[in-house]
Amino acid sequence: MVQTSVLPSAAIEPSLILLDEKLPGGAYWHNVIKRGNTLRVTDLEGSQGVSLICYNADNPIERLNVADTAKIQFNAFLKKGMVIYSDMGRILFSITEDTSGYHDLICGCSNAASNAAKYGESDYNNSRNNFLKALGKRGLTRKDLMPNINLFSRVAVHPNGDLEYITGCEKPGSFVDLRAEMNVLVVISNCPHVLHPDTVYKPKPIQLTVWRSPAPAPDDLCRTANEEAIRGFINTDALFAQM
């Protein structure tokens, strides 16, 4: 079943744009998104999956925790209105807009072995190596690598636990807005999802746009979504109490 709702406006007021970059298929990107700014990831041509990890940029020992992100929100799939939790009971990103609706927290990322199995022996980039390259440039190592998020990827979980990758959800123009709730170091690897069935390596380019997004209103969807989110933001805002 493919989402059919009307897409929100993709337009961002040009004066608000701080960075805007196209990332080719197979490539990686890393940057710090300052608290209050938003990273928009746009699926330009129907990507085959985009892998993402993130850290507290001021103290990278605090990092993405996909298990907490799923269980605190009682959902294994990310959507608009949900947040991305760190392993310290705080919030890295709020998902303030999302026209895809299909993001995976379960399956992790591609690696050399999964690429070889799917595409044959070659030197195609994989997300694990992309992550390690970016981490290396930040002084971090494989001990800092944790289970990741996969944007624009739909994986169904059947009642017996079986995983099934669902194709047909790759919609050119889909985007997800990630508002940084602390200073976030984010690493993105634009490689196909490990379960994407295409046996030809052809990841599509994505657009990465950092923009100065509006301050959250008192009734901000993500900040008021549930009691857990409210407490998560109390924990997060305390990080900045002395600024």
Binding site: D87, G89, C107, N111, V157, N160, L163, R231
Partner: protein, 213 residues
């Protein structure tokens, strides 16, 4: 294949046989070929468990690699536990519970403050257990990743709804793990008192190790 069927393993021939009290951490190197049995003594205890290559702990259990390799989110008989390097760390050679959780991860002081209330922060939690036990190996939070929760029932519905629901385990259920490399096994016998799935009551487990047949 093991020469001895798991059902025939006799605790009197074990090299290690201890009860781990409720709320306590534990670790031990299980050498290649050795078998670790975890027994749920009183039903639906959550046994939060991580695995490390005993010779290089930066090689460690990977929940995503494990579920993708199996094509299934649950762990049961026949499941191979896969490392972040794609190697088989342990094989589940016997399980009479039926399934074990790979998605829920461990509780921490901080996540408990979010899940159950800010006033619940300063209670026991698995991450605290893990950190204390890992300190013996000069390891820390960098070494923590999503873990296995033996005896926990965490199904995912079609719309992604994920809940830690009532367990399917019973007193005496057991899982047998055969080490496929020298593995340091780290356990927090979950102290969670806020979750109804174990009746708000952490309980002891029994851990038995046999040498390679």
């Amino acid at each position: 294949m093991v020469a001895t069927l798991p059902t025939e393993l006799d605790p009197s021939t074990a090299i290690y046989d201890e009860v781990l009290p409720a709320r306590q951490p534990w670790s031990r190197v299980i050498k290649k070929g050795q078998i670790l049995r975890i027994i749920d003594l009183q039903a639906n205890q959550a046994v939060d468990t991580l695995f490390y290559n005993a010779h290089d702990p930066s090689e460690r259990y990977s929940a995503p690699d494990t579920v993708v390799r199996q094509g299934n989110i649950f762990i049961t008989t026949g499941t191979q536990l896969i490392s972040n390097e794609g190697n088989v760390m342990m094989t589940v050679i016997y399980d009479d519970c039926g399934k074990h959780d790979t998605l829920g991860g461990a509780c921490s002081m901080e996540s408990n403050s979010v899940r159950y209330g800010l006033h619940k922060k300063h209670l026991h939690a698995c991450v605290e257990n893990y950190l204390l036990e890992l300190s013996k190996y000069e390891m820390n939070k960098r070494d923590l990743v999503s873990n296995v929760n033996f005896y926990m029932n965490v199904p995912v519905s079609e719309d992604g709804t994920l809940e830690i629901v009532d367990g399917i385990s019973e007193a005496g259920k057991r899982v047998d793990l055969r080490a496929e490399m020298d593995v340091m096994v780290l356990i927090s016998n979950c102290p969670q008192i806020n979750n109804p799935c174990n009746a708000y009551n952490p309980t002891p487990i029994r851990l038995i190790v046999w040498d390679a047949a």
